[in-house]
Amino acid sequence: METELTGAEITVRCLQKEGVDYIFGYPGGAVLFIYDELFKQDKVRHVLVRHEQAAVHAADGYARSSNKVGVALVTSGPGVTNAVTGIATAYMDSIPLVVISGQVPTHAIGLDAFQEVDTVGITRPCVKHNFLVKEIGELAATIKKAFYIASTGRPGPVLVDIPKDVSQQTTVFRYPESVAMRSYNPVTKGHSGQIKKAVQLILGAKRPMIYAGGGVILSDAAPQLTELVQMLGFPCTNTLMGLGGYPATDPRFVGMLGMHGTYEANMAMQHCDVLVAIGARFDDRVIGNPKHFFNEERRIIHIDIDPSSISKRVKVDVPIVGSVSDVLVELIKQLKSRKETVDQAALDAWWAQIESWRSRDCLKYDREAPVIKPQMVIEKLYKVTGGNAFITSDVGQHQMWAAQFYKFDKPRRWINSGGLGTMGFGLPAAMGVQFANPGSPVACVTGEASIQMCIQELSTCKQYNLPIKIINLNNRYMGMVRQWQEFFHGNRYAESYMDALPDFVRLAESYGHVGMKIQQPGDVEDALREAFGLKDKLVFMDFVTDQTENVFPMVPGGKGLSEMILV
């Protein structure tokens, strides 16, 4: 007779089979059997966070920086509800996660048991898929499916809810070699006829533009995108999620686009005649006003793995459903096989126009200011790290400055919550990044408001000796809220002032980290060098920055791309 394993053992064995090296979690009653099995082995290493939101963000940062599936483990009830913000964050940015949650025993489900919530119901709108495992016999196959669904097609978080009695029951363990689902067969290859149409449009373009988003990163298609852009000589912009998909230091890169995009990127986007959208979804922070966008005539090619992303907000002419990398390989192949070339004279004229927009120097700021300008901190951070650090960020002005001023040449180096805009994401995400990339420099760009939303994770960082550098751009305001209040609410700064701030230096020190307070512009670079020199220490750098600095350019909500507020 074959030996039977408990559901908890099966769960851990499944994680081992999937090659999971780290799992981020927090124990509790409903997952005690699973924790017991984690304790008995050393292949899957568990990282104990201080709040379940951080467990999911850490798994998320791990996934974003490594292209592996991130895994989190939480208990039932409040464990799950705390995790929801993390799950929704990953869902909005299409990050492959498997979240395992404990549930009350099957016989107690629906009876308002202690620490019971309808986990599958609560998470349904913010997961790619979820499962409640009611029978031990389904457990292994369900976990296999969860990893498969999370990592294929348009990636996303998948939750597996395991009742406590299921984790205790026993059965023979068989892990399926593969998954076949009649209801889920994501496409990869694009339709070659559609790609041919795209080639035709590209070759006929007079004012082309390439607009590439997070799909390029998720599909590991940065090399193909780079090859395409350089082969055609077209201008390229990246979305907030796509930064690093094309090297930012290359002159063909015109900067990020959208609400806080560069003047040249937004103008080129508005005035191009052929737009190639690659793994980007025309969201409201990029195209604030679809009607205004169509004031100019252009043809749009849209490559995306998710058919529902195509023609959702902006109607396109040539949709190509497929994985970005596969489609780009085919597109490049077809372009190379053609005798015709792009209209170089038209392209030169278009570049001259773009250069004139670029000369507007839309990201300029006062470099001689007597106070620390936040933009300058990011520029120095870029300089000191040689552009090689993994940068996570929280949400707000600091996020936009990091996106504008840190030049990402490589994919998976820029880790931020673009879709959901989750304050508190930066520090736990940095933990996951550091676990996935031991020995690499990891910095978390944050603000004094965001950092306090998950500041308890300084304790986790201490426990696991994570030498993250926290770049706190402290302007004593929820800066982005303050900016909107200044622009759109008559300077009435309702509740956006951050009063009663802790002494971050002493706070960091109390957790056993190094704290630094930097108040003079002249000290910024040296302080960063000193901090990054402390290779085995977490350094909390509290930069006292200009309180009234705003992020420019800015396309106000609902406005057209060419209706920017410029500095």
Partner: protein, 163 residues
């Protein structure tokens, strides 16, 4: 415009709530929704009647297709199709009304399936507008209770929705 969308989905717990949840979370209209297992008990067949512009309906079908448990989706209103809805209606039937209601039921090819000395219960099948017409035709004050199933639809001729 009104659309009638048919889908085949895995007959699993929670599948229905995924569809219902999708409609509410994305603010799509839902006029009626019917669901039951098919001849293959692992599959459920659902008919959703919705209204929306072409763009919205395109999104609805794409989003439905994206649900992991949905196997196939077809917008029946894109081609020839038949739709039927069933209604059970209980009417007060006393005195002269008894004959009149019986006649109405016959005209609409309804069947009286329950009788008391004060009431008739009629089973009526047809398109939604036929059921509406019946309701308009009877004396409103005689209606004691109605229950409708919502529309079920199927393609005409060779149009087949099958795995």
């Amino acid at each position: 415009m009104r659309h009638i969308i048919s889908l085949l989905m895995e007959n699993e717990a929670g599948a229905l709530s995924r569809v219902a949840g999708l409609f509410s979370s994305r603010a799509y209209n839902i006029e009626s929704l019917t669901v039951a297992p098919t001849e293959d008990p692992t599959l459920s067949r659902m008919t959703v009647v919705t209204t929306g512009s072409d763009d919205v309906v395109e999104q609805i079908t794409k989003q439905l297709n994206k649900l992991i448990e949905v196997v196939k989706v077809v917008d029946l209103s894109e081609g020839d199709h038949i739709e039927r809805e069933m209604m059970l209606i209980k009417l007060r039937a006393v005195g002269e009304d008894r004959q009149e209601i019986k006649r109405m039921a016959d005209i609409f090819r309804g069947r009286i399936i329950d009788v008391t000395d004060k009431s008739y219960t009629i089973e009526l099948t047809g398109t939604g507008s036929k059921l509406d017409a019946f309701l308009d035709g009877v004396n409103r004050s005689a209606i004691l209770e109605t229950v409708r199933t919502g529309a079920s639809g199927i393609g005409r001729g060779e149009r087949i929705l099958k795995v």
